[in-house]
Subunit: 233 residues, 2 copies
DNA sequence: ATAAAACCATGATGTATGTCAGGATTCCTA
DNA sequence: TAGGAATCCTGACATACATCATGGTTTTAT
């Protein structure tokens, strides 16, 4: 039985919350950001950012849930789920190639702030603490991606799905029982397996009393068991 | 027939050269770095950095070739190859958790500069251009990791190995014919497949006149063909 | 309200690739 | 320079998982 603020440690699929970088701004700097940002609401399924397109802003998810994914040919790889507090587009801060290197779309209705990229760059230049915070965020993202990378390449389906479920419970919904706004197909994309395998494996987890699932409502009743499955591969 | 300075574009496995961040330092700042760094030589196979251990420096590869890898249980995932110019340990700049989040070891005899991490932090704080350059590097690493991630999860063995070979030729050795300091087992680790599969696939590539390979010497004779294999999966 | 589309579910089948076993070659060391 | 270890290579075998097919259910849209 873990506390809500101390989620289970898994390889994890999702971004942590990190708006803390803005805490290091002065009042004027914060005002500058406020002046150079707009808030946009995206409907479920809408594309928030498109890989390859020019970008003039960094995105911050305020409400909702977004999928950040890499596209190549007709196939896609989900890089992470962006929950409220996540920044999207930090990899496009490079002056030389200001295009999005991945796409993002809304899993559910999602509110996003678009912050002017040049303002962002300016603040990095003039506020060392802010810059350091951004570097922290990039570092955290990198570490998390390594873990997810490991998970998807070294585990087999049971482990991948167990990891994903623990992650959703621990980091996104922050409770053991939640209504999943994702389809099995989307779970499959996240876990890097086929939709059918997800369904079969979910069934297995139910038979083994690790979870219950009626439709979209999922409850994790044996997190330790799931964790063990993660660790065994 | 591509120019040496314009390597083939692949998902790639290796880090690009990027020392450019130091170009933005003032003479005093550069002197400060010089004063707070040591140079260390590692023999082939030696561990340069160990995941989980405390770190007080950022590493820069000067000569040689290093493997950057993530460890979990007995299994490992290679994150990238660090060629001269690569920085290792940027993800440990966070004040809160100054441990290495991955290990590094020397593929061949390798010279590394250890730069004091607090000096590094100080320079990020006081030199916005330097900070921006570090953010660029982290961003580039992230983009590259996405591509490699995609490659390893979405392609099958032929595509993965073809990609790796093009990468080694294009980005590490920068020539179509090179003496590979890696074993088949190490190639397998890099491509995320079994040693036997690497050997079999290499044989297939030879039969198809895509490469030649006597022992450690490998020549890519049909890069376009290999690239096509990458793209087809 | 009803049609269409998407989603969920389950069984049958195929295949890519890992694993195991064995032998040949190369590399290292004492 | 010999003996042992690591590496390289090949074949046989096993299997996890994707794919395909089909039908039932839910959601969406008009």
């Amino acid at each position: 039985m873990q506390a809500e603020d101390e989620p289970i440690k898994t390889s994890c699929t999702v971004a942590h919350q990190h708006c803390k970088c803005f805490d290091f701004l002065t009042d004027e700097q914060r005002a500058l950001i406020e002046k150079n940002r707009v808030t946009v609401e995206f409907k479920k399924g809408e594309i928030i950012a498109k890989q390859g397109s020019f970008t003039s802003y960094v995105l911050m998810v305020c409400e909702g849930l977004a999928k950040v994914y890499f596209e190549d040919k007709d196939d896609t790889l989900i890089l992470r789920i962006a929950a409220p507090g996540s920044l999207i587009g930090l990899t496009s801060l490079t002056k030389s190639s200001n295009v999005f290197h991945y796409s993002a779309s809304a899993y559910v209705d999602t509110t996003v702030k678009l912050i002017d990229i040049n303002t962002f760059r300016q603040l990095i230049g003039e506020n060392g603490l802010f810059a350091a915070a951004i570097i922290d965020i990039l570092g955290e993202n990198s570490i998390q991606k390594n873990e997810r990378f490991y998970c998807l390449t070294h585990r087999q389906s049971y482990g991948k799905l167990a990891d994903l479920l623990l992650c959703l419970a621990g980091n996104i919904f922050r409770t053991q029982k939640f209504v999943l706004p994702l389809t099995r197909k989307e779970l499959a994309e996240l876990a890097g397996m086929s939709t059918e395998s997800v369904i079969r494996t979910m069934k297995k987890f139910q038979d083994d009393k690790l979870i219950t699932s009626n439709g979209k409502t999922i409850e994790i009743i044996n997190p330790e068991g799931l964790l063990k499955i993660c660790e065994l591969g």
